[in-house]
Symmetry: C2
């Protein structure tokens, strides 16, 4: 535990102001000479290009589980896997998991970015320490199912001296949890000009852009017209992400922009564009409540004090330009910040995998989350879906589905390992246990103004509790606070909420 | 106060679950139609190019103080200026002040970036609210002393749809506090390949690069040689910034890298390159103590447990390549992260100003911090220095000098305003009071391992208290904690220190 080591260090620092000179074990040796420093850098070879990678494990070694991806599915699996039975190798282009339900709050500073990012080493400490467990910052470029190995390429963005290189990793069990990617339905310009809301860097980009536009709008020489455009935040997609982001934005406008950007407060607006109903998976009553709350305009004694309400526009986007979107009825909507959250589709990696697919282009899996055609390969989370032959519907791309699958699969793999089926091709005769069954626990969404929706019905037609308002908001906050994985981040989320309440949101553009 | 407004909002949210339908003042109106939304965007003009800006103030208006820069000098001035007497207009390319003494701690995650950034609106709230006070995100491109106006250009980086534009601001009093810039002494390649440590984005860049290199070093296919290079952190410049950063780095290595990057922990090293003595402004005894502490290697029962000591190299850098620095004696030192902190020099803006200069190319000022040749213009902080004719030495480029000058000048301007000399050309016959006198309060530097140096002598030859060790470290932390400007950041700095102690540093690369 770091705190314990720190405590020891600190005690030492307090009790021993000057190191006792007589003990040779703790006297500082003289600084090493330059020759000593430079002797490390003796050869000239850069990379070892002779087929680098991790070869197959031997029979007396721990079997190796390779996990692709660091989303809900992969991280839950890594958290629960027994590292006494398996070595864990994780391959992903990011070294942390994003606590996606709270990501929208970071765009306006209600929460800080680091409070919603959980490093993999904190989720599965073996990866940082154990000799056979690793985290590789890389993309998987292909899978050789026959030889039980994956092909990868490192992610080296931004470092001028290092080109990406390829390597291979042999697996005993492979878990594909690489997720889906934001879908733009092929709409021209969306990819170039809109920002998604799936990664921390997306939230950072939105926050920087919003603050920049707020400041630029205050500089002399800008027309009213252009000011309105810069401060028009348009959200495309009325699912929970889009609605929660709109709610956060209008909280930010009502509470912070009015206080900190008083000169331009009347120019800022939020518009949500959706082709169908917003929050279509929620109870009708809740949806109406959400619309009423989001569109609310603050009046005191009949005077408009805040234009913070969200405007809803029913429409289909057909084109995205750098400063406006164009709807299918030819309406032009100028924007300064454009956030896109219309759902997800399969990634190019999944498209390229030569395995039978489930409806929607996802990797087809059976009831035990296996890819049936090949040995020792599983797929979980948004990248996978039940094959039509299973007779089960493809599950929605939700965090709770992914997390439940990760949990189930960790247990399955732990059982396989105990039964001696951990190594490659060793599980053929072992019972895989009960198949995976998904039970929907319900949905939640916050809509700003200390209000939220909680829908505990198991399906849209099912019966069960559904509620909205402050109590729901309190449930929403408490539920997510307990779901945050590490104690460190749980503490920071609580502290962020507290300081936002007391001091307002931070507006430094860093 | 935001917390009070939030409290009111929250109480309302608790007591009023559903808005009472009968009061027309708080019922939500129907969402406005698309036409209503779009009516804002009716003309096509982009900017008002007809000489935009703020014209001269009239006699019955508040006089306008224009402040260039948001460093220690400008921010202290804005904090203390009486906004009942003056309108304040601040022009700067960043909207926050950086608490520079704690910036080194953010590179390795001991503190978070936002904890050391203070938005201007929190330092001088009038800027966000008062009708005549503004913050402009812009660079000053020139000063027209004769016409009492400055020429500016907006900062619009990253927004694809907005080109920078020019505008003018008339001033009654102008305070130039634009600071200095990092100096590379013309060494080839330093500007391209090294990272400075003056802004939050520098610290972000160092942190991202360090974490990337730690992860890449663990990927198969990299040679030992290259791994050692990637994980070699070289700091050029042995002043307080360079030493504090080295100390933070070796704390990070000893406590976090050993825990979180156990596979590569033996490859990481820190080297500090300095042409003369490190910490030359400090007492000799303290300097020796610092060197002893920084080079210390942890041994337990004669076994090396940590290679965290800093190597010192005495040398002059003559060339910087993308992967190594070359010293004047032709030694090549490969690096993965290069941080440059060899001091500061005048910025191009200061070089271009046609006013008499002080030694070192700074803007020449008299004892009242005025530029003598022109009316109503002052210069404070690192950009200014006493003219030789004053008989006073140029003060060092330190936060405490800048802050003291800002404080002095705010008082001077407040007095001028009270005496009716606030407007342009109105102060000629007014007494400016006592000249500015600087009294050095001493220096502090932390060196890692819960140790710091505190040197309270007024000059290098003077007498006074100087101490080093844990007590000094405690003084160092307490002193800076009380100097942090806002309560919000004071709270966050304390919380960051606490969580670093308990949980270790955060290693998500976001």
């Amino acid at each position: 535990m770091p705190w314990f080591r720190n405590f020891i260090h600190l005690s030492t620092a307090i009790t021993r102001k000057q190191p006792p000179r007589k003990s040779p074990a703790i006297i500082a040796p003289p600084p090493p000479s330059l020759t000593l420093i430079l002797q490390h850098f003796s050869t000239d070879a850069r990379y070892n290009h002779n087929n680098p990678g991790l070869g197959p494990t031997k029979g007396d070694e721990k079997p190796r589980v390779v996990v692709l991806g660091t989303g809900w599915a992969g991280c839950r699996l890594m958290k629960d896997i027994d590292n006494k039975q398996y070595d864990v190798v994780c391959v992903s282009p990011r070294n942390h998991m994003v606590f996606t339900p709270l990501l929208a709050s970071t765009c306006v500073g209600t929460l800080e970015f680091r409070s919603v990012a959980e490093p993999i080493g904190r989720i599965q400490p073996a990866i940082s320490r154990e000799p056979g467990s690793y985290f590789f910052l890389a993309n998987c470029t292909g899978v050789d199912f026959k030889n039980h190995e994956i092909h990868c390429q490192t992610v080296t963005e931004g470092v001028d001296s290092l080109d990406p290189w390829n390597f291979k990793v042999s697996y005993d069990k492979l878990v594909i949890a690489s997720g889906a990617q934001a879908s733009t339905f092929g709409i021209k310009g969306a990819l170039e000009h809109a920002t998604f809301l799936r990664e921390v860097h997306h939230a950072q980009e939105i926050r920087r852009k919003l603050l920049l536009n707020l400041m630029l709008s205050d500089v002399p020489g800008i027309t009213d017209e252009e000011k309105r455009r810069l401060l028009h935040c348009v959200v495309v997609g009325g699912g929970p992400t889009g609605v929660e982001f709109s709610g956060e934005l209008s909280d930010f406008i009502r509470k912070d922009v009015h206080q900190r950007y008083a000169h331009v407060k009347d120019y800022i607006h939020v518009t949500l564009v959706e082709a169908n109903e917003i929050l279509s998976s929620f109870d009708d009553r809740l949806r109406k409540y959400a619309i009423r709350q989001l569109t609310k305009i603050d009046l005191i004694f009949d005077t408009l004090v805040s234009q913070s309400g969200v405007h809803f526009v029913r429409g289909i986007v057909k084109d995205v330009k750098h400063d406006k979107i164009i709807l299918s009825d030819d309406t032009h909507i100028p924007y300064g910040v454009l956030v896109w959250s219309t759902g997800v589709g399969p990634s190019p990696f999944v498209n390229a995998l030569e395995v039978p697919k489930a409806p929607g282009g996802r990797i087809g899996i059976d009831e035990w989350l296996r890819i049936p055609a090949v040995q020792d390969v599983f797929a979980i989370g948004d990248c996978s879906g039940f094959l039509e032959s299973t007779g089960k519907p493809v599950l929605p791309a939700l965090a709770q589905v992914a997390e439940r699958q990760g949990k189930y699969l960790a247990k399955l793999l732990n059982n396989l390992g105990k039964a001696g089926g951990g190594h490659a091709d060793a599980a053929a005769d072992i019972d895989f246990g009960n198949p995976f069954v998904y039970k929907h626990l319900g949905s939640m969404a916050t809509i700003g103004r200390y209000k939220a929706l909680v829908d505990l019905r198991q399906s849209k037609e099912g019966k069960g509790l559904s509620m909205a308002g402050f109590a729901s908001w309190f449930i929403w906050r408490s539920a997510y606070l307990t779901r945050v994985i590490s104690w460190r981040n749980r503490f920071y989320v609580a502290i962020n909420w507290l300081t936002t309440f007391v001091f307002g949101r931070d507006i430094s553009r860093i």
